[in-house]
Amino acid sequence: MESILFLIFAAFALGCGLMTVANPFSRSPVASALFLVLTMVWLAGLFVLLHAYFIAAVQILVYAGAVMVLFLFVIMLLDLREEELRTWNRFGVAAGVFSVVALLGVTALTILRSVPAAGAAPQLEGSTHALGAMLFRQYLLPFEGVSIVLLVAMIGVILLSKRESK
């Protein structure tokens, strides 16, 4: 049962991901954004299969519900015609290939290094106590690091929008 569901969810996640970047029917950015939302939803399904309900819910709440809504918001306010006509640009392709290869490399390294079935998976289901304890004890430094990155991004946005208004 679970492996069948995994196959379904994974296939749909990959399919929607593909439609996000290479949609044969339309080049509208809105369609891409919506397929990205669907990808997020299928990914949440994969998290549920891993019994990580909290992460699944947060995935929907943060990515599908908030981040992608803002994406759509910005896409709609931009000039869509211009976006649809845009052709390949060398720098964009290079940056895309580089980031995909880098991400694949990091993921592959992690998978290769991990020892299969080394102890039970961390218990993320049930109450959020376990998750909180892990975040604030074991992984406190990376957690705080991420929050500093977010803070920097926030300050950057405020700075940019302030400069714009002058």
Binding site: L34, Y53, A56, A57, I60, L61, A66, M76
Partner: protein, 357 residues
């Protein structure tokens, strides 16, 4: 996967769906009757099927109360011409009403609408992350409206869609922050545990422990369901009808029903989080039911509380004027979010003090 679980879940889903849809139909009637009462009119009092006048006494009475009106409204919505303007983006135009409707129905899945019936818990999905699930689904609700605005491909719906995106994102934050103190108190995200925590006397209800949280949640609920005083996405006088200007027939009815289903869902959330869910603090009604009758009574208590909130939401619509858009944003970002954060810090501080004693 055991079949009993599947069968009972299916029964609960169908029953909850039927009850919600009936409540949607009749809350439209209540809306019209309440508005009529407030504006010193009579409201719908003519619709009657041919047999009604042969029922002595009761028939004319039901007609005067407009009991048959929702049936006629529903029939009309189905039978009217479904007109698709030429300039719309077809795929999104078809998708949007469905996407608007589904999230409001999905929210109902985690709300415990009763205690026990036999050995069955009266909640469709007893999730440990219940509240996060709800907020996740509620945050998806905005897509229906955004897509409707985009699909219509004309300026007023588009403005309505853009307004609603900004409004719903803003108020989601204060809504989410306002319930965190509840979960600090309860120590669990499961809505069943939240109800259990509110048993034992009136003052166990979270409304008395977190009045500020409730206040913020209530106002954010008005904004999230696009009801007056925050109905800017569909403000008739400025945007014609906002995001659903180009829609007709059953597609329009779906937006309309989605609004009422969202009202029911949000009322259910308020009842569960702040007003003790299916419990009442007397006659032993705050313990899980042992008999079928008690189980049924709990469901009725829950529905009664939900109806009170629906009435409140409807009443407010006909009493208050609409906010201006900058006032709406100012209220959301500069008043409610700081207040909600303060509420979290104070609650956490008090709990830490109590724990250290």
């Amino acid at each position: 996967m055991d079949w009993q679980f599947l069968a009972f879940s299916l029964v609960k889903i169908i029953a909850a769906f039927a009850v919600v849809m009936t409540m949607v139909a009749y809350s439209v009637l209540v809306e019209r009757k309440v508005s009529a009462f407030i504006q010193d009119r009579l409201g719908p009092n003519r619709t009657q099927p041919f047999f009604a006048k042969y029922i002595p006494g009761l028939g004319p009475l039901l007609t005067r109360w407009g009991v048959f009106q929702p049936i006629a409204d529903g029939l009309k919505a189905f039978l009217k011409e479904d007109f698709t303007p030429a300039h719309v983006r077809k795929v999104y135009f078809w998708l949007a009403p469905a996407i608007a409707m589904v999230p409001s129905l999905l929210t109902v899945a985690v709300i415990p609408f009763g205690s026990m019936m036999g050995a069955q818990k009266m909640v469709i999905a007893d999730l440990d992350v219940g509240i996060l699930y709800t907020f996740g689904i509620v945050s998806l609700g905005v897509y229906g409206i955004v897509l409707a605005g985009y699909a219509a491909n004309s300026k007023y719906p588009f403005l309505g869609g853009i307004r609603s995106t900004a409004q719903m994102i803003s108020y989601e934050i204060s809504m989410g922050l306002s319930v965190i103190p509840i979960f600090l108190l309860v120590g669990s995200l499961n809505l069943g545990d939240v109800v259990q925590h509110q048993t034992g006397g009136w003052f166990a209800w979270h409304i008395f422990r977190q009045p500020l949280g409730f206040f913020i949640f209530l106002i954010a609920a008005f904004a999230e369901t696009n009801r007056l005083p925050f109905d800017l996405p569909e403000a008739d006088q400025e945007l014609v009808g906002g995001y659903h200007t180009e829609y007709s027939s059953i597609k329009f009815a779906l937006f309309f029903m989605a609004e009422y289903a969202a009202m029911i869902a949000v009322s259910g959330m308020m009842v569960t989080l702040f007003f003790g869910g299916w419990t009442l603090p007397f006659l032993g009604l705050d313990q899980p039911a042992a008999t079928l009758g008690m189980g049924l009574l709990h469901i009725l208590v829950f529905l009664g509380k939900v109806c009170c909130f629906l009435l409140l939401i409807i009443w407010v619509r006909w009493m208050l004027p609409r906010f201006r858009y900058d006032q709406l944003m100012d209220l959301g970002w500069r008043r409610f979010i700081p207040l909600a954060l303060l509420n979290i810090v104070v609650t956490a501080g008090v709990l830490a003090l109590l724990a250290s004693k």
